[in-house]
Amino acid sequence: MAKMLGPVRRAFQPWNDPSQPPFIEFRNVTKRFGDFTAVDNQSITVYEREFYALLGPSGCGKTTLLRMLAGFEEPSEGEIFLDGRPLTGVPPHKRPVNMMFQSYALFPHMNVADNIAFGLKQEGMAKADIAVRVEEMLRLVKLQDFARRKPAQLSGGQQQRVALARALAKRPKVLLLDEPLGALDKKLREETQFELTDLQESLGLTFLIVTHDQEEAMTMADRIAVMDHGRVIQVATPAVIYEAPASRYIADFVGDVNIFEGRIAHLENGGLTMTTAAGFTVEVAEMPQGVARPQAGETIWFAIRPEKMVISHERPPNATTNVIEGEVWDIGYLGDVSIYNIKLDSGDVVRATRLNASREVERPLTWEDRVFLSWRPDAGTVLVR
């Protein structure tokens, strides 16, 4: 489900506005456990009302970052600021931050309604208001009929929704969500994603979400920080992360991609031509990012997403660059698209997808067909890392 891109959203780019003060700021934060460094000298800024996603493989330090913000861990070095004030020494119960735990951490001796009401009781909200808010939260997570159940009497997905409702109930300035939707089925997950973004926008909350589901990060977040081994390696909008990843690692982590190693043959008016190890020539419309002055002969990588290649039985007319030839090796039918694995003569397997625009059941492309893959010069990116 695509994020609703209203006019307000379109203009929402506080990270491009130098006058915007950061709302959450990690300043040179390092966290060590013994001699293991979980977070390595990282500076992160998140703006008010932003939906910020931390994306990365297991163990890269995502939860550790959230726990430092919530106050359960103190940074070994560096400082964290919230709304301009340093959080150092502020105990967890005094931070205007609520966290949804990866392990849910539901109170087993309280029923669902009491779990959700717990935070509200602590701030001394009136009983009647608590009841209304709890009801509203239960409706949001679709658990109206389960208010009197104990957590142990719920399924994993239901427990996850209670944890979400409990963290949301207080409407904190900052909500930290650690893998909030991992246990939900696809349909419920998409619905909840939509409602979360809706709620976040209408209440003007700042969300910091941890996920290792890149699709989830893409759908919901304003910006994504891709992490690896305790470092943030790229922070950008979902579109930039997807279309202009900063490294092969990111390109590979976010979505499907074909990567070819090669050398720069020559540079010409803003773009370059490279010859790949697989033996074909690629013409790219743009320069690689991250190097001041690429040299001919330098090793670089060409990355192209499967959906950006056109599959045809005939060689595209007049094409000498940006075309490769191979044999259909494998076909995956996904309903909306089909995935074709094409084996090149060099032995490399390239993945291309094709929209199933008509309801043909007999595939026009089938196993062992000789096909050509071609793409436009601006379809792929060159990477130096």
Binding site: G71, P92, H93, F107, H109, A113, D114, Q122
Partner: protein
């Protein structure tokens, strides 16, 4: 619910028989009409009636009960605090020493505990009696409470407390709203254990008692040395009944907290 297999049943029957057969015999003989303890002379409650008129046994029972209630309660509080400090305190200075010191009395021979406490009370010139017995009982039963509560705390999911703190509860509130309810079974079990330890302690009480503070086990022991009387059986039966009542109450209380409370 897991299936109740025949193996479980056999284990249960044997276990219960092993534990309770001697007590059952004691109870049956307390209703013996005959004065000779080992010969059944018909059903009678005469020993209970006689007991009611035996001032010295009633006194001893009353002392024992007060010592038990007081020492178990104090030991439960102290033992729980000790367990919390051991599990939660992190690596404070002298932690290993402290945990060793808390658990040493578990394996310390009672004679030594009793003797050392006696020496202490003599040294500080503390009049021996009800209070010295109570303090002595607190001292040794506290360790048992600490052990029971500690094992529960070790398996306690810390993120529950973090969640409570995160939702704005103060550390104190977190302890009473989340930690304590969840370790309550262990705390209650610790109390029961401390209470029954106090109830049947003979050695330490003998060392630390003084005039006017004879506990029931001491009374029974001194009487039994002059021969077992059916009266003693009756006293013991009442003790068993009391303890049973306590355990049942505790377990019913434990179960009663399951139904959902309304917010």
């Amino acid at each position: 619910m897991r299936r109740f297999t025949s193996f479980n049943l056999v284990a249960l029957v044997f276990g219960l028989a092993f534990l309770y057969l001697p007590i059952l015999i004691l109870i049956i003989y307390s209703f013996n009409a005959s004065r000779i303890v080992t010969v059944w002379g018909g059903f009678s409650t005469r020993w209970y009636v006689e007991l009611m008129h035996n001032e010295s046994i009633l006194d001893a029972a009353w002392v024992t009960l007060r010592v038990g209630l007081l020492s178990a309660s104090v030991a439960t509080v102290l033992g729980t605090l000790a367990a919390l400090a051991l599990v939660r305190g992190g690596r404070f200075w002298g932690r290993t020493l402290f945990s060793g010191m808390v658990f040493a009395p578990l394996v310390m021979p009672e004679v030594i505990t009793g003797l050392s406490l006696l020496l202490l009370f003599v040294a500080i010139n503390f009049d021996r009696g009800f209070w010295t017995v109570t303090i002595a009982h607190i001292t040794f039963s506290m360790c048992f409470v600490a052990v029971v509560v500690q094992s529960r705390l070790l398996s306690f999911d810390r993120s529950l407390e973090e969640a409570a703190l995160d939702l704005g509860a103060t550390p104190v509130k977190t302890f009473f709203a989340v930690t304590l309810p969840l370790i309550a079974p262990a705390v209650i079990a610790g109390w029961m254990l401390a209470f029954s330890l106090s109830l049947d302690d003979l050695v330490i009480a003998s060392f630390t008692t003084g005039p006017g503070a004879t506990t029931l086990p001491m009374k029974i022991y001194s009487q039994v040395r002059r021969g077992v009387t059916p009266e003693i059986n009756a006293v013991c039966t009442i003790l068993v009944a009391l303890v049973t009542l306590g355990v049942l109450t505790a377990s019913i209380l434990g179960k009663a907290r399951s139904p959902a409370r309304t917010p």
